[in-house]
Amino acid sequence: MKFGVVVFPGSNCDLDAYHAIRDVLRHPVEYIWHQEESVAGFDCIVLPGGFSYGDYLRSGAIARFSPVMKSVVEFAASGGLVFGICNGFQVLVEVGLLPGALYRNTGLQFRCQFTNLVVENRNTPFTIAVEPGRVLKIPIAHGEGNYYADAQTLRAMEQNGQIVFRYATAGGEVTKDANPNGSLYNIAGVCNENKNVLGMMPHPERSVERILGSQDGLVIFESLVRYREGLR
């Protein structure tokens, strides 16, 4: 299974995603420059974290017009796996591949810390390898991760299993205190209706090795591989 990691001007977790995939997951991976017009040949496109275009105006607002995004949108439409992490998630909502919007944390501060996630839907390509009831310890690092969608959209998302991750306590309880950024209903990650596009604010690529304090992020990448192999 071949991964592609998109590099926008200002991406800075591209390297981390690349290493997680190449050195820990041990799968082929290549960088994709933002001016590429095709993403042919890849099985999964990762939009990494960072500050594309400085996150000026709004996070992800300018990056979504990069030439590469046109082909990412087409790739997604044809069922391709697209995975947005942090800034990548912001790009995905801006470009309309995912519903809702992400804006300023209610605390008005950038937050970098470990969070605990419950997996609300284990039936997506991104979560099929997660054991039932498992709480994932994965760090966040963002200033604009406050998820918003209007009531009607949220209802539809709930019904359709599009809310994939919520912030929780270590014991898996979804509480107000466990919410680091004010996201509606503690939402940390969502997918599209078809479940082939997922965006999440926490950084699974930062928790793939014991020496980094957690390996819980690895299961998301492993899910992708297992899903893909299941298709063969």
């Binding site: 105006l57 607002a61 809702g100 919007a101 804006y103 300023r104 944390n105 605390g107 918003y148 004010g182």
Partner: protein, 84 residues
């Protein structure tokens, strides 16, 4: 040349943490008669050529496509003629 002045605000239904923080800060400075504060963005865009209507249409399009995120934001703008 045309100057567009664009104001972008979070929709009423979206919580405005920044506005709340500023309101709190104003209260603690003793401005007790401050009732509500909302914080948004202000942009000035200079546009060459065309008439006022065309400039306005262009600004609207730029807001819809890039400048505002209409899922959470509303925008208003004015266009006035300026000397180069």
């Amino acid at each position: 040349m045309w100057k567009a002045r664009i104001e972008i605000m979070l929709k009423k239904s979206v919580l405005d943490p920044q506005g709340q923080a500023v309101e709190g800060a104003l209260h603690s400075l003793g401005y007790d008669n401050v009732r509500s504060v909302r914080v948004g963005k202000y942009l000035e865009v200079d546009i060459d050529g065309g008439d006022k209507e065309a400039a306005g249409a262009q600004v609207r399009e730029m807001c819809e496509r890039l400048l505002a995120n209409t899922v959470i934001e509303d925008y208003t703008f004015t266009v006035t003629e300026v000397q180069r």
